[in-house]
């Protein structure tokens, strides 16, 4: 500050400043250019696809051990169970059925005693049911789903009423037979014209899973339940119709101690074993086909981590922030780019897996559900979404720890360790591990609600998203705060 400044020459003006543009779109383009111009990164993305498809093909060609001749029953194909005991009268068209469940005994919290209107007595037929349960209140059930509208704490004795108008069936419950409350209404596709109306009991299998490290012992026995009904009325009454029974396989009353119905005056006692609902032991073919995501994720995680840590290691992060000083936006652009790239790779891999595994599975005697099936479509698209979210999660962790090896190891450990340790933990603890760790995201691949499902598909993905959001927030905070 001592030297007198010489007369200042005119300041230079940038000749391109007028053309320069700022914006998130430009930033996306910049990050995408970064991603695609490092050949080993595009190869990693490709490797993720190849690995996933390869695993799908391998597992598909391996799974035909039961032999092509074996015919699978229609309910097994549908992956449902349609057992229990049903006592019914014909219902010609619209009408209703009413009864009071006076007592219910045995079968666990999900034992069902109630009313059912169904298309036919055939197994797998469409139905609507209203049931009281010991542990889950009064429920409106349909479509062989585990759950339905309703709930609460009501138990037997309970008045129930089911009315049918075309394909729409509505359920009402009452404590005294006078004041009715609506439980729910369902549309039963396939319920046309003649139908059946009556009472049913059902109980899920009692499954005991014991974990030993590296495997599990599953023992299940059919649950049995008994319930009594009175004040039974089907209207309009069918002339000359007698009550009919549908029991477990092997004909009505195969084992009179467990299955059957007795009537004394206006009181019916129904005994039944087995459930009406999803097959909790059904193999999840789609999930098995998409299991390659467990392998493919390693490539995706590595890519997402390197996409960030390379900037630290090579010192290009300073160049990046010099061009785009708003660091939160840079992180967002990186997340979008690596997420979309992973989503695209995931979509290709998941669709290719399901489509290419199909002929192999069919030649092995397994009929995989079609891709158009909503659950399968959700699993396939969900697998791609899962990989996209995982990529963003890995990116955020990479920002936090800044080292490739540490970040990759940390993310993969967090994803894989729960899966591995869960097999060695007591079942209840294992469920919680599978519920509260980021690995819960893999639940999106379930297409069958199995006995060992820890968490629902969307809830599972939600758990992973929550972890990702938290990691991303921490990453953004650190990125703004730290010196580049």
């Amino acid at each position: 500050m001592t030297a007198p400044a010489p007369p200042a020459p005119p300041s230079y003006r940038s000749t391109v400043a007028g053309e320069a543009r700022d914006g998130f779109g430009r930033l996306l383009l910049a990050e995408w250019t970064k991603l695609r111009t490092v050949p080993r990164w595009t190869l990693t993305l490709l490797a993720a696809v190849v690995l996933m498809v390869a695993v799908a093909m391998l597992s598909a060609s391996d799974s035909g051990s039961s032999g092509p001749e074996e015919k699978r029953s229609p309910t097994a194909q549908l992956q449902i169970i349609d057992l229990g005991h049903y006592t019914y009268l014909p219902l010609a068209g619209d009408g209703s059925v009413v009864a009071r469940v006076t007592s219910q005994d045995g079968g666990g919290a999900w034992a069902k005693a109630g009313l059912m209107i169904r298309g036919s007595a055939e197994r797998g037929a469409p139905y609507a049911a209203l049931a009281v349960t010991p542990g889950h209140g009064v429920r409106m059930l349909t479509g062989y789903r585990r759950d339905g509208a309703g709930g609460g704490t009501a138990t037997a004795p309970q008045w129930l009423r089911l009315t049918r108008a075309g394909a729409a069936v509505t359920g009402y419950a009452s404590a005294d037979g006078r004041a009715w409350r609506r439980v729910g209404s369902v549309r039963v596709d396939g319920l046309r014209g003649r139908a059946l109306a009556g009472m049913f009991v059902a109980a899920p299998d009692e499954v005991e899973v014991r974990r030993v490290f590296g495997g599990e012992i599953i023992s299940g026995k059919p649950g049995d339940t008994t319930a009594t009904f009175d004040n039974v009325a089907v209207s309009p009454p069918a002339p000359d119709a007698a009550w009919l029974d549908r029991g477990g396989p092997g004909g009505p009353a195969a084992d009179p101690a467990l299955d059957g119905s007795t009537r004394s005056g206006g009181t019916f006692t129904l005994k039944g074993t087995g459930d009406i609902g999803p097959d909790e032991f059904a193999p999840d073919v789609t999930k098995a086909t998409l299991a390659g995501a467990m392998i493919g994720q390693a490539a995706i995680v590595a890519l997402a981590v390197l996409f960030m840590t390379a900037e630290y290691r090579r010192g290009t992060l300073r160049t990046t922030f010099a061009a785009s000083p708003r660091r939160g936006r840079v992180l967002a652009a990186k997340a979008v780019v690596v997420g979309l790239a992973s989503l695209a790779a995931g979509l290709v891999a998941a669709f290719a897996s399901v489509l290419l595994a199909r002929p192999l599975l069919e030649s092995g005697g397994i009929a995989p559900p079609p891709v158009s099936d909503p659950a399968v479509l959700r699993a396939v698209v969900g697998t791609a979404a899962l990989l996209a979210v995982l990529a963003v999660f890995a990116l955020a962790v990479a920002v936090i720890v800044r080292r490739s090896a540490v970040a990759i190891a940390a993310v993969l450990l967090v994803l894989l360790v729960p899966e591995i340790t869960a097999t060695g933990l007591p079942v209840a603890a294992a469920r919680w591990v599978e519920r509260v760790t980021p690995a819960a995201g893999f639940a999106i691949q379930q297409t069958v609600t199995r006995y060992d499902a820890a968490i629902g598909p969307w809830a599972g993905l939600g758990v992973l998203c929550a972890y990702t959001a938290a990691a991303l927030a921490a990453a953004a905070w650190l990125l703004r705060r730290r010196d580049a």
Binding site: M1, Y12, D22, A322, A323, S324, P325
Partner: protein, 309 residues
């Protein structure tokens, strides 16, 4: 948008080390400003703070009157090469420039223009990992020029370059400054800036030691000194010392005399009959001036711990 960098009371501490300590200066347009100081003096930290990469503990830095982090298309305001090796080795040089151009929405032709300007030529199609240091420096300079900015900042741009490369960069910096741009160049060797810089910021231990025009600094360092060439060195030294001059040898037949004027030295030597072959006002090298400066500054700091000269 003025082509200036203004630094006001900048301070930065890393743990217990004070990297930059109350630094203030202005870099003006139309000249090359050298930013000199030993390694670890805080030059790079200062440059990072100017670019908003490091957060100052106190003070502020403005580029063209605005904080860097508030700039929307910063590549058009300030171009910088902080570290020539900061390139992904697997990426082609051209792609490196391309993503950078995208980030500020710069037209694609700029990429070709700076490749030309930096003399990268066909190497732009090669992956940066195979580049020599000289090529990396050229790529870094190309990146800095991408937005055709009025302010340029280079951290040790000639470090490790061959003489040809040094000459090229020196010429480039001069021509950029001649267009009216502000150019800030750091170096830990004063000799690297010899003939390259018009203005100097000398920094030591994070503090500003000098903010001066190169001419003024050289004049001050050369002040009153006379360079004498004589075969009879010993006699000359005796004669001059007796007259109260300070004499140092600077070669086998060269002496530097401090104190008397050139006329007085001639008078003394001819009076005693000591022959000499040449006498001239001594012109200090930038290195010498720097040594002189830092020596004084250190003494001054030790005594007063106060403001730099």
């Amino acid at each position: 948008m003025e082509a200036t960098i203004e630094v006001r009371g900048l301070r930065k501490r890393f743990g217990s080390t004070v990297a930059v300590d109350d630094l203030s200066f202005t870099v003006g347009p139309g000249r090359v400003t050298g930013f000199v100081g030993p390694n670890g003096a805080g030059k790079s930290t200062t440059m990072r703070m100017i670019m908003g990469l490091d957060r100052p503990d106190a003070g502020a830095a403005l580029v063209g009157g605005r904080p860097y982090r508030s700039l929307r298309t910063p590549l058009c305001r300030l171009g910088a090469m902080l570290d020539a090796s900061a390139v992904h080795p697997a990426r082609r040089a051209r792609d490196h420039l391309r993503w950078l151009a995208h980030a500020n929405g710069l037209p694609a032709r700029r990429v070709d223009e700076v490749i030309e300007q930096a003399g990268l030529g066909s190497a732009a199609r090669r992956r940066a990992g195979g580049f020599s240091l000289g090529m990396r420096q050229r790529l870094g300079i190309a990146a800095a020029l991408l937005g055709d900015p009025p302010v340029l900042m280079f951290d040790e741009p000639v470090n490790g370059l061959d003489p040809e490369g040094i000459a090229w960069i020196r010429g480039l910096l001069r021509s950029l400054a001649a267009e009216g741009r502000a150019v800030l160049v750091s170096s830990h060797l004063m000799s690297e800036l010899e003939g390259g810089a018009d203005h100097l910021l000398v920094i030591g231990r994070g503090r500003l030691i000098a903010d001066t025009r190169v001419e003024d600094l050289l004049a001050a360092a050369s002040d009153g000194r006379v360079e004498l060439r004589t075969e009879r060195r010993r006699e000359a030294m005796t004669v001059l010392a007796r007259a109260g001059a300070t004499v140092t040898t600077s070669g086998s037949d060269a002496l530097i005399v401090t104190g008397p004027t050139a006329e007085r030295v001639i008078e003394l030597l001819t009076g005693e009959g000591v022959a000499f072959s040449g006498i001239s006002a001594h012109r200090a090298s930038l290195e010498e001036a720097y040594m002189e400066l830092t020596k004084d500054a250190l003494e001054f700091q030790a005594v007063a711990g106060g403001e730099a000269r």
